[in-house]
Amino acid sequence: MRGVLATLAGTWPRRLAIAALALLPVVVAMVGGFATVPPAPPRQVPPGELVQLGPYDARVESFFVSDRVRVSSLPEGADAWLGVVVELTVTGTAEEYYLPTTIQLPPSQQVLGSGAPDTEILVRDGSMLFRLLPGLPERVALLYAVPDGEAVGDELTLALHSMYSDESFLFEEPSWYEDEAVGTVTVPRDDFLPAVLIDEET
């Protein structure tokens, strides 16, 4: 033991070197080396720009508030539909059913139900979205039932989340799971709707 100490700290240069080593963490702390990195601000995606969200590419275009679309399926207590218009294109080789967690309303926006869209319809002809086909871009309106249509503003900031594919333990086939936030997109309100979406009775 004494031999080891004598070898390590026997001369002044060695003592100084050991002291410098011991002080190193203090110096690093003083210049801020141990501070946590502030999280990167969420990426601001301009409306209509292509974002990759895992199984598909999306262009979030605009939103509308209307009580003249799919009137009969408005749930009880709902005043109007809030529809987020987004173009989705599946990038893989297999078709995908719509995966609703990738585009999320701000928490401040009141909706009826779980927060997932009630219905997804095709903007082209108002029919229900069954599934998305690979390589076939489809403009879709994600419909959320809102208790008060008047209260929705002129802009809406949506959070975009990516998804990753993993083997499902239960079904033994790949499934999509929600991944980290990709960014946010602030879309303008555009209540002008194609006539085919408007219910004739109203």
């Binding site: 297999a94 078709e95 082209r124 086909l133 690979p134 390589g135 076939l136 489809e138």
Partner: protein, 190 residues
């Protein structure tokens, strides 16, 4: 001739061991479920158990009309495959039709067109009709039709038929394509 008991024992042992080795070899070499894929040909009967199928051809169309009379548009194109089929024994409906393009993208028959679902056929009772697919425009050209008569989500290798089709990207019909409804065929007709 009587063999000595010891010799008889030795011969029987050899026979039993040889039989075991033979069964093992057969087990290893023969596929447990037989052939699963059937190569089909345009315009010829093919047996994809439990169905007999004949594909007449395919066409591309910009718009289709479903049984309600409503024209349906697509941001891609519609592919209508005309085919006849019957079963081999009891009546039934084929479970799944799929088109694959040359880059491996897969499209199941469309659920958007009312009245375009596969129809029921009986043993040697042939019906002819059309199945509709929705595909992007750049998928046209060489397409593979895959028929899964019993579906494929059962964890077993199910029989399926494959057929190479050609849909001319330059000959997509502009006018409204009216879907041919299933027609019962006379004996011998396809």
């Amino acid at each position: 001739m009587r063999l000595a008991p010891r010799l008889r024992m030795a011969v029987l042992t050899v026979v039993v061991v040889a039989a075991g080795v033979g069964v093992n070899q057969a087990n290893e070499r023969l596929p447990p479920y037989g052939e699963t894929s059937v190569a089909m040909e345009l315009g010829r009967d093919a047996v994809v158990p439990p169905f007999q199928i004949l594909v007449h051809g395919a066409r591309g169309a910009e718009h289709v009309q479903d049984i309600t009379g409503e024209p349906l548009t697509s941001s891609g194109v519609w592919v209508l495959v005309e085919l006849s089929y019957a079963t081999l024994d009891r009546s039934g409906t084929p479970q799944e039709f799929e088109l694959r393009d040359s880059s491996g993208r897969r499209f199941r028959s469309s659920e958007r067109v009312a009245g375009a679902n596969p129809w029921e056929a009986g043993a040697d009772i042939w019906l002819r009709g059309e199945i509709v697919f929705e595909v992007p425009r750049d998928a046209l050209g060489e397409l593979t039709l895959v028929v899964w008569p019993q579906g494929r989500d059962q964890g077993l290798p199910n029989r399926y038929g494959q057929l190479l089709l050609w849909v001319d990207p330059l000959a997509v019909e502009e006018e409204l394509a009216v879907l041919a409804q299933p027609v019962l065929l006379d004996a011998g007709e396809r």
